[in-house]
């Protein structure tokens, strides 16, 4: 029982460290502002604020493109590959209504003249990639109405 608790506690600490590191990296790369960072630190507790400082210091020594910074917070996650319509989970992750999503995907396909059966990869930051080559075609948020 104790071992199980210790294992859970260890996992919690590791996940928290990873989360705080991500938040620090996002802060350092300008992805989020202090108004997000402060409540996060406050919520987790002052004991881990040093991790934030360390994470930010580590991040600030490296020039990280915005897209890489975005990757650290899961923005590079593939939300959807294939399908004729945007899934509810994809819409939710992107924070779009069904109407906005439909408008954006149709407008992007029209702008690029993609055939109806072209099913790109939709990433967490709205990027739309070629399903085979991974080539960047556009970003859904550029077409949100």
């Amino acid at each position: 029982m104790k071992q199980a608790h210790a294992r859970n506690l260890h996992m919690f600490v590791e996940e928290t460290k990873e989360f705080v590191g991500d938040v620090a990296l996002m802060y350092a790369t300008g992805e989020i502002g202090g108004f997000v960072l402060k409540p996060v630190v406050g919520y987790i507790g002052k004991g881990v604020s040093t991790l934030v400082t360390e994470g930010a210091a580590k991040a600030s020594t490296t020039i990280i493109p915005r897209t890489v910074g975005a990757a650290s917070k899961g923005f590079s996650k593939v939300l959807q590959t294939g399908g004729h319509t945007l899934n509810n989970s994809t819409l939710k992750a992107l924070g779009l209504t069904k109407e906005q999503g439909k408008f954006a995907i149709e407008a992007l396909k029209r702008a690029e003249r993609l055939p109806n059966n072209f099913h790109g990869k939709i990433m967490g930051n709205g990027d739309f990639l070629h399903p085979q080559t991974g080539e960047w075609i556009g970003n859904l948020f550029d077409y949100v109405h």
Partner: protein
Amino acid sequence: MERDNFIYKTNCELAIVANEINPDFITEELNIVPDRFFRKGDITTSKHTTRTGKKAYNLWAITSKSTESEEETIKPHIDYLKSLLLPKLDILKRYKLDERFEVSVWIWLETNNSGMGLELDEEQLDFLGAISNRIHFSLITKK
């Protein structure tokens, strides 16, 4: 679009996509200035993420002006395309048959109604069929 009556916002675009043929060549041959175009290799940038990509092909397009109407029709847009393109019908028929080109018509329909019905008559079908390899309908409705 927030009105009591149902409104249909529509427009049509004809685009010619080609891998090797430059849009300037199409502009010159048709003697029509495109409403938009891009060239293969052009760099495009996202306003949202500043990510860039290269256009993989050439595109030349003309678009009818977007209109809002209470009528479920795209006739004014097809008439507009006809006014520009009927004198160039032979060239467009040639493009349609030429594997180096893909000619498509994109019909855009937005409505605050839950759906819409649309009819194309024989003359419209003949015209669109004569000049294009495919026709796409984008129908955006409100819940």
